[in-house]
């Protein structure tokens, strides 16, 4: 089931990476990730295809992460999250093209 997670955090060293690693350690693909400042804090939005059990595990992992202070999720209808991605979301840096090549291809 696809879920959209919204995680509020203080943007201290490594906190965003710890948030993402909760997904990567479970082998979950991350088709969409966005991180941005929101008020005095930051918010990461992750779209993940997860089971109910994984939702609970992720919640607990994130709540146990220092500098994460709020976690919310909603089950995302496909057209809904597509719309949210199109709504002005910046492209990930890895897709930036340099001389017609993606950076990741040049690595």
């Amino acid at each position: 089931m696809t879920h959209l997670f919204q995680i509020r955090y203080n943007n201290t060293q490594g906190t965003l990476m710890r948030i993402l690693m909760a997904a990567s350690r479970r082998g979950l693909p991350m088709p969409y990730v966005q991180a941005m400042p929101v008020g005095d804090a930051h918010e990461a939005r992750l779209l993940l295809d997860v089971s109910d059990k994984q939702v609970a595990q992720l919640y607990r992992d994130w709540h146990g992460t220092v500098d994460v202070f709020d976690v919310r999720s909603m089950q995302a209808a496909e057209e809904g999250w597509n719309a949210s991605i199109d709504a002005g979301a910046p492209m990930p840096p890895a897709s930036t093209r340099i001389d017609g090549q993606s950076r990741s291809a040049m690595a």
Partner: protein, 563 residues
Amino acid sequence: MLRGADIVLRCLRAEGVDMVFGYPGGAIMPLYDALDGSGIRHILSRHEQGAVFAAEGYARSTGKTGVAIATSGPGATNLVTGIADAKMDSVPLVCITGQVRSILIGTDAFQETDVFGLTLPLTKWSRLATSIEEIPDIIAQGFYWAQAGRPGPVLLDFPVDLLKAKMEFKGPSTFSLPSASNGHAKPDFWPKLQTLLQGAKKPFVLVGAGAKLSGACDPLTELLDTLQIPACATVHGLGAIPSDKTYYTGMVGMHGTKASNMALHETDLLLVFGARLDDRVTGEPSRFAPDAKIVHFEIDPAQLDRVRPCQLPVVGNLNQTVPQFHNEVRNVKLPDWSEWRAVACGPERAEVDSRGLSQPATRFLDALFEQLPDNSFVITDVGQHQMWAAQRYRKNSPRGFITSGGLGAMGFGLPAAIGVQLANPEACVVCISGDGGFQMNLQELATVHRLKLPVKMVIIDNKYLGMVRQWQQLFYERNYAETDMSDNPDFVAISKAYGIHAALLGVEAVAGLVAPPSTAKSLFRFLQSPEPELLVFECPKEANVYPMVPAGAALSEMVFEEE
């Protein structure tokens, strides 16, 4: 003006650090240069993994934060196993690493490793210092997070140029969260718990490391004395409940007692105190305590519902929530559970199957543990000897049994014992290792010798990687692939080469069911020696640890011999 290195050491002193474990190298040299006169004793290991395990031993035996120091690159990567071990077993640990000069970070400089990135999933908190001004605050926060809530490891990475730079030092920082919980659970847990208790016919208690970490062993024992509910302990919970309590059923889990595993399978109300219920405790998770409602007392909400949902989570520090529970329950008439207690703790289940106990290694350990003085610590490595020792350990000392239980890191035993001995110089410290694990960090014999630490080292030598071989025997049709160690070195000669007295004990020393007086006498001498000593016990090659819950089986499906 003080150098960054001096500031680091002053901040460590302010955190109460008087001993650190480490190994020098290029990027951490300024810190070593500043050590003399800092008031901090440095213990030189012979490998960074030895340093971090020793720091863990120091922390596990005292509850204080252990500190390990290493240089950048390989020094830092050699800490990683210890950091993972501390994460799994909730050990307060601060690792300090040198890093290449700030300007070189990200250039693949000599001995550069992204240790900050490497350890992100293993640490509770970490920082790569970017300015000398940050150092006091980073250290204060690091020590706070190492101990806060569920303790764990912290990594602080200092580029060498910051350690050499100078600034006016205004004093150490302090850090604490203003909103930190006082450890009390929400008061509404009692009515729900009371209802569950009143409806329970077969209640059972499982005690984990949290009881020790929170200093709640005494209040928990008092609570259990009131409840008179059968109770077991995880391997990390050993010693939390006095083993002579009539309601105590022993260790639970893959190599737990029949009494504990059967009671856990049959219970209809499971009270968990400070345990995360990992797979070595639960057996097949889907068949764990199948009829039980679970009440989980836990400081870390992230540990709740990992295996299956609990009906009542009680989040808070056990040294607060257990007395809360006791205050409520002492005024209540509880159901009569004597019939269930007679079954769960009765003679039919009171001892594990004799076939599992009549083999020489357990008889040897019985004879050894019989002689242990009260002020003693048993540290194990990882493998069969670890489980034999856990099965036979009977001391009522909350921090007295120390083992790498979560990560299961071979090589843990000897360096951890060094840390325990240094933290507890008057104690009798006994390290039980296997022949495989001992060879993973035997270079630390040099540390033992240099410091003249009276650590008592035991190698249970079966010339195999015994636990893997046991699984190969039972589940891989005796295909003993790469577990043979019949060409082990002469451990006695190696020990003597390091200047440590060593002796060999053959299996005949425990030929009878009770060790002969001569064996008891030699074990007494071994333990009472003021010097370090190594004793190699030659164990039959194919001895197994029983009872055993095979992988994928329920706890009730223990095996007691090869089928």
